[in-house]
Symmetry: C2
Subunit: 372 residues, 2 copies
């Protein structure tokens, strides 16, 4: 459950990422005539940015007791490794609330130490994405939540087993009853997913330097960050990476101009083509949302790139056909650091104790069968 302040809104705490150097944030040093090339003042730059981007607001308090109960239940489910067949993996395993909502691995480790096919996207601000997964194959957070729990390469469980597990513990029966009070059978796989989605909707990161600047605080971004923002808009990055999440909405081929090498864009993963089976969707992916990008390495669906400057360089080449100067890459990276928001403060839920009716975890048996 997210810690609530007295007014019922979740508390946030600063990301443990270096803040922009205060020494840099000295408006006095700025030439009043030009805050960034093409923008005479902060206000000019801000107006251009306001046309493209939105700020993240703190998560609203739950609208009623039922939604509050759904959030609390969702937190329990998000953290409960018994939702996996092995008993080892929970949502938290790959979407760590202490690490920007990711696992900081190129691709995740799943059931039986299998290597996942794509980099785990952050759960933070995921509700602002137009659809979920790198290929947008899930319409919303609840649909997304049903995926990894069933994937053989991830949590390797079944909806029936999840429901049996949940029904075996009185505290879960009670929590589902409170969260879905008007339903004859409140414990269901669909409600499992709904509750997780309700919890995930609290996982937002307001208060980023960019957001504070966009709402009027000139000192919340450094000069270099402002120059980076101008470059980000004028070079074309913002053509795909826009909106509240700086991406997460529309679909584009990876390699609009020049396809990157197989290490970054493995040939076997044709992206959205697998969802739509349409030739024009070959190697098409959802534009990655860039909120908290500075604390969610590695990058791309392949997770092949650890360096943010390198990722920017690859994007400029592949998508814009542009070779950016090192100083310009540096400015864009500085700007991207301004998208790191306050990280949610999440209390680890106390989970129900198993009962005799709870299915046993099974980390090894099926693995041994496979290797026979």
């Amino acid at each position: 459950m997210v810690l609530a302040q007295q007014d019922g809104t979740p508390e946030q705490q600063p990301a443990q990422e270096e803040a922009p150097d205060q020494a840099e944030v000295t408006p006095a040093e700025v030439t009043p005539a030009e805050i960034a090339p093409g923008y005479a003042t902060d206000e000019d730059l801000r107006q251009a940015a306001q046309d493209l981007f939105d700020v993240i607001l703190p998560a609203a308090p739950p609208t009623d007791e039922v939604h509050a109960a759904q959030r609390d239940l969702g937190a329990m489910l998000f953290f409960d490794p018994r939702m996996s067949s092995s008993g080892l993996f929970s949502c938290q395993s790959c979407h760590n609330v202490g690490m920007g909502g990711v696992d900081a691995l190129p691709t995740s480790v799943g059931h039986g130490w299998q290597k996942g096919p794509r980099n785990a996207p952050t759960v933070y601000n995921a509700l602002f994405n137009g659809a979920q997964f790198w290929d947008g194959r899930a319409a919303d957070l609840a649909e997304q939540a049903m995926g990894p729990v069933q994937a053989a390469v991830e949590m390797n469980n079944t909806p029936d087993q999840v429901v049996t597990t949940l029904e075996s513990m009185k505290e879960y029966l009670d929590a589902f009853g409170e969260a879905f009070p008007d339903e004859a059978e409140p414990v269901s796989f669909a409600n499992f997913a709904t509750a997780i989605a309700e919890f995930e909707e609290t996982l937002v990161t307001p208060g980023a330097g960019f957001d504070r600047w966009l709402t009027g605080d000139d000192a919340a971004m450094s000069d270099e960050q402002k120059r980076g923002l101008a470059l980000f808009m004028d070079s074309g990055c913002a053509g795909c990476h826009n909106g509240v999440n700086f991406g997460g909405h529309d679909y584009y081929p990876f390699g609009v101009v020049e396809r990157p090498g197989a290490e970054v864009l493995p040939e076997g993963d044709r992206g959205r083509f697998a969802v739509t089976e349409t030739a024009s969707d070959d190697y098409v992916f959802r534009a990655a949302p860039l909120r908290n990008v500075a604390i969610t390495a590695p990058y791309f669906h392949s997770g092949a790139v650890w360096s943010l400057p390198e990722a920017v360089d690859i994007m400029a080449n592949a998508q814009l056909g542009t070779e950016l100067a090192e100083a310009d890459i540096g400015a864009i990276v500085a700007f991207l650091h301004s998208l790191t928001g306050e990280q949610p403060r999440v209390e680890h839920p106390v989970l129900p104790a198993r009962t005799e009716a709870t299915p046993l975890p099974n980390p090894f048996d099926d693995i041994m069968e496979q290797s026979r």
Copy 2:
């Protein structure tokens, strides 16, 4: 970090385990002449119990800023999966603060999906144990913390790699500086272990039904639980399972009277013999601490038994040479439920973002080498 109340003591919340049925806790039903066989009143039973056991007190607030800093740092380290070579495992993986301080697996899953040799003991109240691990091979929590991080079958890391990882992130450098202010090189593997131990010392579970009863609340245990307590003391269980942790201090052969079968006591694991290389330590283990035992299945160093009544039955046979009646086992199990305390409320720490100097996680490469 543990949530602090206004007086600086950690907050606790009730374990999500069924409380003793209030209907059972009706002193009026008790025959005033005999609260349990051999004990005329609660006070008689209490005096006998006070000679053998102690209550758990809430964790004391940190004595000074340095210790507070050590606790906060320890929480970060406890939850940081980058302390493992794969980037997947942290202390929390096997000592889940939401599940009674255990992973609820027979034996843990470790690096490369290896199967651990013994059941992961609970981290809760571990500071009250005389020594750590099933064979007591670590003298204290700090020494224990150094083990799993280096074990090839667990986190598979090295002290050097841990220190390099920690030194790569400014927030860790700062946190170690605050936690160990008088040291020339605050970031060290020894201080890593010390900080984790300081955090773990806050992980205690006061307020159990037994503790409330022992300090005078007659209604805090049911009649059956009181009868179970009397049996626990008079049958001999308390001969080994005593003190504040109901065990965790002394060493005994598993099978004092009759050695259990190989499924429960695998022949390959000779217990404390491996530590002392003394014949009399063959198949000797530390008496398991029984605090929160009802929520920390499965049982024994092998984790082979999921049922608490079955575990009690095995113990009575193996250690006491007694065949307990089913009703007596039931009473002892009811009593053991009274050892479930309030579970600590732990906020998931926000962890530092990696830098270019942070060693990359390596979940697959060495595994692939091994399988070649």
